[in-house]
Symmetry: C2
Subunit: 206 residues, 2 copies
DNA sequence: AGCAAGTTGTGAAATAATTAACAATTTTTC
DNA sequence: GAAAAATTGTTAATTATTTCACAACTTGCT
C-alpha cells in the first residue's frame, strides 16, 4: 500500500467509530451509501477510501463490518498501543480525558500535567495529575509518545519546548497559539476560535 | 471578490490572531515569511491568501498589520456580530466559554444550555446557564444564530434536531457522533478522537 | 550612480482530493 | 430464466489547493 492521503486517514478513523456503533447494534454488513450518509460524504468517496486500504466488499451485500473495523485498526493503530499525556488539566484537558475514559482504544491517556499544586496527585477519570516539572521524568517512565497541549495559550510555546526535550514524538496543540517544533516531531494544531469564525463566515455568506 | 477557498478562510482567521499579538507588541509591519513561520506554512501561501482578499503590501516593508487586521475583519466578521450558544455545560462547553471570555471579537457566547438542573441559572464566565427545554425560546429571544454542541455523544442528534427547529443557522458539533441537518444549515464537525488517532498514525509511520 | 539583496504579486505548473462514469457482477422480480 | 435493479471497484475527469518561477520593484551599500 502506498501512502494514504491525510484526509483518508481522518475518514478511516471516523468510519471505524461509526462501524463500531453499527456492530454493537448487531449489524454485520453495511453499504457504502450508508457510511456516506452518516459522514456527510459521497458513497464514491467511501468506496475509494476502502479501495485504498485494499479491502474489498461483496457485491450487493456491502462491506463486512467487523472485517473493516479490524483492517482499519491494522492501519491506524499500533500493535501495543501508544501512551498519551494531557498537559494542562483545565476544562479542556479534563474533557479530553473524559472522552477517552472507558473507550476501548489503542491510545491511552496515562498522565496529566499542570502547574497548579491543587491539581497534582489527584485522579481525573483514572488519570493521575503530576506537576509540570516532572514532565520529562514521567514521559520517560511511562513511555509516553504523544502529548495534548491544553494549557492557556501563553504557556503553549514553553510547554512545547519541554515536550520536545523530553523526547515526545507527536503533539496535538489545542491552544490558539501555534508552537514551533523540529520537523521530526509530528504536530497537529487545532484552534476552536478559527472553527467558530469559519462557521460564522459561512453563516454570514449564506 | 469571488469566493475564497475554505482553507483560506481558516488561515485568515489564524493570521488575524497572530497579527493582533504582533500589533499588541507595537509592530506595525510584517513580512509574508514572518506570518508563514508562525503558521507553519510557506510565504507564497500567505501572499496568495492576501492577494485573494485584494490587499496589497509594500515592497520591502511587508504588510501593514493594522490594515490587514481590519480587512480580515471586514471579510470574516459581520458588522453587528453574531450570538452563539453552547449546548452542554460540561468540561468542553466551559472550555469554549472560557476561550471566548474577554476576547474582543464579533462573536459572543450569550447562553449555555444543559439538562442537569444543577447547572441551570448559574453564571459561567459571564454566560448564563438555561435548561435545555428553553432552547428554542432563548435562541429566539437572544437572536442566536450559531450553536456549539458539547453534550455527550449520544445526545447529539436530538440536540441537533432541536437546534434546527429553533431556527439556528450554523452548528459546530464537537461530539464524536455526526449529526444530520438540512442543507441550508452550515455544519462543521470536529472530532478530537480522530485528531488524536491521526497524530498516532503519523507517529507510527514516522 | 550602479549593483546586490530582499520582497511582493501572480501566471503557470504541480499536486492533492473529489467526483463522474461505467463495466462487472449479484440479487430480485416477474 | 430473462430483465431490472442495486452495488462494488476503478479509470478518467474535474476541481481545489499548493508551490514554482520569475518579473517588477525598493532599499541599502559601495
Amino acid at each position: 500500500m502506498k501512502h494514504l492521503p491525510h484526509k483518508t486517514i481522518e475518514r478511516l478513523s471516523q468510519y471505524r467509530r461509526a462501524l463500531l456503533i453499527c456492530a454493537a447494534k448487531g449489524k454485520t454488513h453495511i453499504f457504502s451509501h450508508e457510511i456516506a450518509k452518516i459522514q456527510h460524504i459521497t458513497p464514491v468517496q467511501v468506496r475509494r477510501d476502502i479501495m485504498l486500504i485494499g479491502y474489498t466488499g461483496t457485491l450487493r451485500k456491502g462491506y463486512n463490518i467487523q472485517e473493516l473495523i479490524d483492517l482499519i485498526g491494522d492501519i491506524i493503530d499500533t500493535k501495543e498501543g501508544l501512551n498519551v499525556a494531557v498537559v494542562g488539566i483545565g476544562n479542556l484537558g479534563r474533557a479530553m480525558i473524559n472522552y477517552f475514559n472507558g473507550k476501548r482504544t489503542k491510545l491511552s491517556i496515562v498522565a496529566g500535567f499542570d502547574s497548579n499544586p491543587d491539581k497534582i496527585d489527584r485522579i481525573y477519570s483514572g488519570v493521575k495529575g503530576y506537576h509540570i516539572d516532572r514532565l520529562a521524568e514521567i514521559i520517560k517512565e511511562e513511555n509516553i509518545s504523544i502529548a495534548i497541549i491544553t494549557v492557556p495559550a501563553g504557556a503553549a510555546p514553553e510547554i512545547a519546548d519541554k515536550l520536545v526535550n523530553a523526547g515526545i514524538k507527536g503533539i496535538l496543540n489545542y491552544t490558539p497559539k501555534p508552537v514551533q517544533v523540529p520537523s521530526h516531531i509530528y504536530l497537529e494544531e487545532y484552534d476552536m476560535i478559527t472553527s467558530l469564525e469559519k462557521v460564522a463566515f459561512f453563516v454570514k455568506t449564506h
